[in-house]
Symmetry: C2
Subunit: 336 residues, 2 copies
């Protein structure tokens, strides 16, 4: 239906998952990417392991929200199975090492954006990711870039605000704690002394963001082939960085219906303001028998681990029904 | 000229460089991969940086032999330029971290094979590499696998001997210290209590090899696409491991003329015994103006960093003369 998506499905993309942690993500009430804030350190490596091995190794079971909803990595895994696409894990700054091969970029986990310079390695991470993106794209054709980081929508809001976008962001929680996120971002802006709209893009990541945004932006600018930023708000923040670097050519965002339908945010407006194309999968779990998936229709979790973008590419390739069926199969396998 | 090589050139391979260090490589007189034994820790990361960035970062200049001969990575870099092929660095067990993005496999640098269990992480490294090879091959099509590790022909002799091959091996030195290598291997066999020919292949790597052989073997077995093992003796050791794992389908060795012409070794006989196809580039520096390259014709250095295999693929694609010219250009650029 779309020339960009056609290229992506025709040319065997490589999926690159940028993983990281921040202290921002451990602020109570900020994130649902883990049963409790301390467990969020295990969520990205466990997501990565699930994609590579078909099950997690750093934890028993799979990452869940405080309400027990499973990670969107089950959707990603299903889409990757259908596409026969390989996954490369990138450690942009993790607290827990995945039990899997992973690219390291020399970064470390991020701090709390309310304090000074939470992402001191932003530039090094960006530059290393740029080199990686360049080399991977040469042989792998298109890149689909996903993320796994708790508290990522808050650091995304931080970067977007620093870059002058006044956009409400989504949340993995059923009730979006937007007031808390804004409080955190406002405190961060005060600490950094940044004037919204006047920040250099990498400075914005360094002072208000997280290592995953640095890595994803570097991968995208380095790539010589089309790039699908697979995610919601966080990939909007990446796109905002790319827009400032004049590096949005052949880049689009791919996300879920649940992000599009999130009345507490406005990703379509935000993407239009940034000037990046936005596509969404039509994947729905309205008619599934599986409770843990049907609740996605109520707006919990919504996106992550590249789920939306990967489902979109898989849907283009084999149809929506196949994506739903394979996700159900992956989910059932994990429960056994 | 060859269906296997045609597939490789037609399908945009990805070059994966497995890098490592061992204490074996620091035994005086064993290796020329560095101006002195202690500097060999810097050779693999510097080789990797040269391929990714066009210059080394961990050292000034480029890795050289004790006689000042430059690393074969200049040939690899030239071939990669001509092919437009991307490079992925793999840290199989390094003492010095490269200033570049690199995949880590959870291994550590190897010990001295004269002592017990010099490669304790062999199995973990192999398994992680297998996962990586599988995922990379899905999106990247064929893999060309190279190595950079000082003392690699000695650990290769160790693995080959443990697996029952009685083959003389090549050397980066003009005078092959074969007696010294055999002494080291004999001492290693005594320590490990291994009976030549009766070892399990991964046990052979663990007791007599190095982390790079573990990584290269894992990458090759994981790959679902054709694999070119780019190297000489060391890749023969990898092929020997693969033969024991019944994983030689769609695998060939690509090396240099200088390895083929090495009268102190017999790679053709060895490859035939293992049952792996062997191809060699016709690249020659007999008529070059550049002293640092012309000495390759005297049988110093001979191979490394995937030089032979990459030159072979480039030669298939753009012809031998272009490979020579581009290598001269890369060499001159580095001297400036």
């Amino acid at each position: 239906m779309n020339a960009f998506l056609d290229t992506l499905t025709d040319q065997d993309p490589l999926f690159v998952l940028a993983m990281g942690n921040t202290e921002t993500g451990k602020i109570p009430g900020i994130s649902a990417a883990g049963a409790n804030p301390e467990l969020t350190d295990y969520t990205p490596p466990a997501d990565g392991e699930l994609l590579l091995h078909g099950k997690c190794r750093s934890i028993d079971g799979v990452p869940i929200t405080p309400d027990g909803i499973p990670t969107p990595a089950v959707i990603s895994r299903a889409a990757l199975n259908l596409l026969g696409t390989g996954t490369l894990l990138v450690d942009a700054g993790l607290n827990v090492t995945p039990e899997a091969p992973r690219v390291t970029l020399g970064g470390k986990a991020g701090g709390d954006i309310r304090e000074a310079t939470p992402v001191p390695y932003a530039e090094e991470t960006y530059e290393n990711a740029r080199t990686l993106g360049k080399h991977l794209s040469r042989s792998s054709r298109p890149l689909v870039i996903g993320e796994s980081i708790a508290g990522g929508t808050t650091t995304a809001l931080g970067v977007l605000t620093a870059l002058g976008y006044d956009a409400p962001v989504s949340s993995s929680l059923p009730e979006n704690p937007l007031d808390l996120k804004r409080e955190v971002v406002t405190a961060g802006l005060e600490t950094s002394g940044m004037e919204p709209g006047e920040a250099d893009p990498l400075e914005a990541v360094k002072e208000m963001g997280d290592p995953v945004i640095a890595a994803a932006a570097g991968l995208a600018t380095g790539s010589e082939t089309p790039v699908l930023l697979a995610g919601g708000t966080q990939m909007a923040a990446v796109a905002a960085v790319l827009a400032r670097l004049d590096a949005l050519d052949d880049v689009a965002i791919g996300t879920t219906r649940w992000i599009l339908n999130d009345s507490s945010s406005d990703i379509e407006g935000l993407a239009a303001e940034i000037g990046v194309d936005l596509h969404a999968t039509t994947l729905s779990f309205a008619d599934t028998d599986i409770d843990g998936l049907r609740v996605y229709e109520q707006g919990v979790v919504k996106e992550g681990v590249g789920a939306g973008g990967l489902a979109l590419v898989a849907e283009e390739s084999v149809g929506r029904d196949a994506v739903q069926k394979e996700t159900e199969r992956v989910y059932r396998d994990l429960k056994e």
